[in-house]
Symmetry: C2
Subunit: 187 residues, 2 copies
């Protein structure tokens, strides 16, 4: 499923708009470990992951690498704070697998907003999806112990356990890798 088909499944698009979006976007195959976005820069592109996997992370005060979220197939990923607000971001985005992605620059997206106001609906939709994902994660972390956090992963994102290094999942859940490993052992 390409990204226009994906969007179309939520917000029906006119062929005009569908063509506009496709023509402005770029399809790429990129290797594992490729950085979609580096920290300190203003993020220029929004990506749709057709195949593959990305993670969104930052370094905390202790220099520890902390994963904030994952970008699975059929999802959009960008440094959201940076991309929409046009300011540098502390976050990085890296691919965890060889991936196929569509990308679109901010400038092109902005032009499409002007030409076709309904594209604004699309961006609102994407933002709301991100927001909901974050609410979910927030609720999973805020007042839950390590075992409950692990359950969040096994229930909502079981595939990640197969595909992602344990350390990334541990920092995503806000627990240490050792604790996560032990919890996983007894069950």
């Amino acid at each position: 499923m390409n990204f226009v088909q994906y969007i179309n499944s939520f917000v029906p698009l006119s062929t005009e708009v569908a063509e506009e979006l496709l023509s402005k976007s770029q399809k790429q195959h990129l290797p594992k470990h490729y950085l979609l976005h580096k920290d300190g820069e203003i993020c220029q592109k929004i990506y749709f992951i057709e195949k593959g996997l990305a993670r969104w992370y930052y370094y905390n005060e202790d220099g520890k690498d902390i994963t904030d979220s994952f970008g699975l197939e059929n999802s959009f990923i960008t440094a959201f704070d940076s991309f929409f607000q046009r300011k540098p971001s502390r976050y990085l985005i890296e691919l965890l697998e060889d991936s196929t992605v569509y990308s679109m620059t901010y400038a092109d997206l902005d032009q499409s907003f002007e030409k076709f106001p309904e594209v604004q609906r699309v961006s609102r939709l994407i933002l709301i999806q991100i927001l909901e994902q974050m609410l979910d994660k927030n609720a999973a972390l805020q007042f839950n112990n390590a075992r409950q956090r692990y359950r969040f992963i096994t229930e909502k994102h079981p595939d990640l356990l197969q595909r992602v290094a344990l350390g990334h999942i541990a920092s995503f859940l806000g627990i240490t890798q050792e604790t996560l490993s032990r919890i996983r052992a007894k069950k």
Copy 2:
């Protein structure tokens, strides 16, 4: 500052649009403890807090009341998942002080989208502000101990410590009230 002036400071609005928004909105004085939104319902209104304070919360599986965020002066609050997606929400919103708020219904906002596409920009702006606030909080909780979480409050929202019951702040930070009280004592 009313909400149109507030928006105008980010996204310059034509007088036409400013008047549209003002005419569709309603200014109200509401008392402490008033529920702006009840759980289980589809949230019909988005609120702008001109004066006062609200909190956004839910009940977890153990029935514990957990504060997810606060709505301070000059910010928008609604059950975001519910309002924009038109589905029931597990969250509640209550006023913590006598407040002055502007409200606008989803139906009216939607009509304004149609009439004035630039209003879509406004709603994108609001969403991004919420998103950033959530990212911030996320980073503050994800891998930090109780003392670091407390520092997040003292640095970013010191006024809340004066205005809000400790229990609400504790659940917002994902720690117990006793722990928060002890941390506060020694410093």
